[in-house]
Every structure is written in C-alpha cells, then in structure tokens.
Symmetry: C2
Subunit: 192 residues, 2 copies
C-alpha cells in the first residue's frame, strides 16, 4: 500500500473539485476518499471530520476569492475599481456557484477563518475608500456594496430573475445605483 501522500491541503483540494462538480450535497467524505484513492477512514488522519472539512473549505474559498479580487482591483481606483470589483465578484461566483453558496453564510470563531474573512473585506475597503468616505460611512458603504453584490449573485443563481430581462443589464443598473450612492452622506431626499 503505497502512501497516497495526502495532507489537509490535499484533502481540501479534492473536496473543492467535488464541491464544484457535485454541489454541497455531493460533498461527502466517501466521495473525497474515492477521488484521492484512499479509504474513507483514512481521511480522518488529515481532517477531524466533515464539519471541519467544511470549515477548511470555507477558509480556502474565501482566501482564494480575496486574492483574486485583490489582484483584479489592484491598480484601479474610484468608479473603475468599483466596477472591476463588482464584475469580478459576479464572474467568480458564476464560475463557482457552489463555492459561493458555501462561503456566503459561513461563520466560525476560528482565527484562521476570521483572518480570511478580513482579507476579503479589506478588498472592498480598498475599493470603497476611493470614494472619499470616512468613519462609519465607510463601513456602511462597504457593507452596502458587499450586500448588493452577494445578494445579486444569490438571487441570480436561485429563484430570482425569471423575467426575460437581461441580467447583465440589471447588474449594470445595480452597479450604477451603488456608484451613485457611495457618497459621504447619501442624499436623504426621497426619490421622485
């Protein structure tokens, strides 16, 4: 029995592939074991169990997302950066819908997870800071941007958007609403 050369990271690698291919329900230790050419119990030498594997997956996904988002945003500023941020986030989520679903609601106390989440949020801060916001307003704006884009992606992948209307155009509309709204003190006057 030659060593399979597994490691926690390798297990997460395999898990990611299975998540992409079969979705969250298809993500079983059995499937990962088969994919890595090992018996299921052997996986316990590398991860504590399925819940922990999901945590590691969330961390991996968030870290990779942060890295990719950071790379795309780098060298841009203001509206240009915001558009790039939004577009790339949506593109990533479309390419890996199951990863997005897994990561969107993930929450753990674990410092490693916290660090990853912070890394991702920091990209949004970098983008939004270019709009001249400060203090609480900056926090509000970052939360608003992240909420809008994650929500759009979730609805797009779920029940929403049955109308024939082009979703790209809707995304562009939302992007404009955000770009226009990110000001130190959003106009308190109502529409109309």
């Amino acid at each position: 029995m030659p060593r399979a050369g597994l490691s926690p990271d390798a297990v997460v690698d395999a898990a990611l592939e299975i998540l992409d291919a079969r979705g969250s329900d298809g993500l079983t230790l059995k499937a990962i074991a088969d994919a890595t050419g090992v018996a299921a119990p052997s996986l316990y030498k590398h991860v504590r169990g399925l819940p922990e594997l999901r945590r590691l997956l969330a961390i991996r996904i968030i870290n990779e997302t942060a890295e990719q988002m950071g790379a795309v945003v780098m060298g841009r500023a203001g509206n240009d950066a915001l558009k790039a941020y939004l577009t790339e986030y949506r593109r990533l989520a479309s390419q890996y819908p199951h990863r997005h679903a897994l990561a969107e609601r993930a929450s753990y106390d674990d410092p490693t997870f916290t660090a990853a989440a912070e890394r991702l949020v920091n990209v949004a801060y970098a983008v939004v800071r270019g709009f001249g916001l400060e203090g609480e307003d900056l926090v509000h704006a970052v939360r608003s941007v992240r909420a809008a884009v994650t929500g759009f992606v979730s609805l797009e992948q779920g029940l929403g958007y049955r109308a024939a209307t082009d979703t790209d155009a809707s995304f562009a509309y939302l992007s404009r609403v955000l770009a226009a709204g990110l000001r130190p003190s959003p106009t308190p006057s109502a529409a109309q």
Copy 2:
C-alpha cells in the same frame, strides 16, 4: 394506534418548527417523525422524501413571506413603502434566519413554487413601481432592491459585519442608497 391526523401541510408545519429550532442540518425526517408522534416511514405517506419536503418548505416559506410582506407594504407608497419593505424583510429574516437561508437559493421548476416566487417578487414590484419606473428599468430596480436586502441579511447572519459599527445604521445607509438610486435612469456620473 390512533391516527396522528397528519397531512402534507401538517408535516410541513412540524418541519418548519424543527428548521427554526435546529437549523437546516437538524431538519431530518427522524426529527419530524418524533415531533409528530409517528414512525419515520409513516411520513412517506404524506411527502415523497426529504428533498420533496425541502421543496414544500421553500414554497411555504416564500408564500408566508409574500403574504407578510404584502400586508406590511399595503397602504404605503413611494419611499415610505420602500422603507417598510426593507425593514420588514430584514426583520422577518432575523426572526427566522434558517427559513431565510433555506428559501434564498431555492429554485424548482414546479409551478407551485414558481407561483410562490412570483407572489413574493410582485410585492417588490408593487413597491418599486411607486418610483415611476417603467419597462426594463422597473425590472432592474426590483432586482436591485431584492439583491441588496437579501444580501444584507445574508452577510449580517454570516461572516460579515464584524466591525463594531452599528448594523442598523448600515442598513439605513443601504436603504438611502437604494431610495436615491431608484430613478428611471440612474445617474451615470461617478461619485466624488
């Protein structure tokens, strides 16, 4: 053995309670059977299985949400309606986080589900129409509003919003951004 008096609806009732109390992972046929005082296989007389039960749950949740949202929005218009819509959606999702998580990404071909989803979306249309939008813009605006509010709720319940900043204030900020942005042709000019 007296009849337990179950029905598909009664099973969904029990499932809802368990979902609320133990979350999506705790939602098992075994748990529902115990709660309804019946043996697990008996549930199959009312629902096809766990996947179907989840579908029924999603339908129920979306229908109830639509009803509640409709009631709150009724009699209001314009900005007032929008604020009420956003606030009530967030309140509902906070009260029943697991329901929101289950329904947010649900998607089925089933006409019953489609009808429920449409009912819910129609509330948003009723609200947004008050902003004088037409055609595609109306669709874009509805999608934007729904994306923003669902995304906010998801992030609020998940990893987001670790900063000390008050989330109510952030929600108010997002609400203002939306209210200001819902115009026939969102200002294409960048911020700053």
